[in-house]
Symmetry: C2
Subunit: 85 residues, 2 copies
């Protein structure tokens, strides 16, 4: 595997799994007041479009990364509504 | 411009500008307790790798989107340290 491909895959993995600590933190603290509803609304919409884009161009890494990111970001968005102060 | 290209550009724009409402919210409330330090640490590292990847493959959209995202995510990470309880 080339260095550049490995770099891209590492980048994609990090920006995807990054949301896991936020999901765990919010689930544990039951507090989401500081999280921006606007951020997660726009972000989820953008990731959904990335997913559709990946499906249309038939790119497995784009589909895989954005499916996982969408699940994590939607979970945080759900927490934002669920743990309202 | 093709529909698929427009879809990809819209997706990239949304997942980039999504962080603006979080920057504004955290700056206004001066509260970042609910934000995950782990998330923003991993995310900033990932976006930095995306940026290096974009430079190495010479892809302007990847460079542009990740430069803006890195600035916004680093600002939130800075706020997380600065507005510590």
């Amino acid at each position: 595997m080339s260095f550049i491909l490995l770099l891209g895959l590492t980048a994609a993995t990090l920006t995807t799994i990054a949301f896991i600590p936020q999901v765990i933190k919010t689930w544990k603290t039951k507090s989401a007041d500081d999280l921006s509803l606007g951020m997660y609304s726009i972000f989820c919409t953008g990731v959904l479009l990335w997913l559709i884009y990946g499906i249309l161009i038939g790119d497995i890494p784009v589909i895989a990364a954005n499916t996982v990111t969408l699940i994590l970001a939607l979970t945080i968005l759900f927490f934002k509504f669920f743990y309202k102060e």
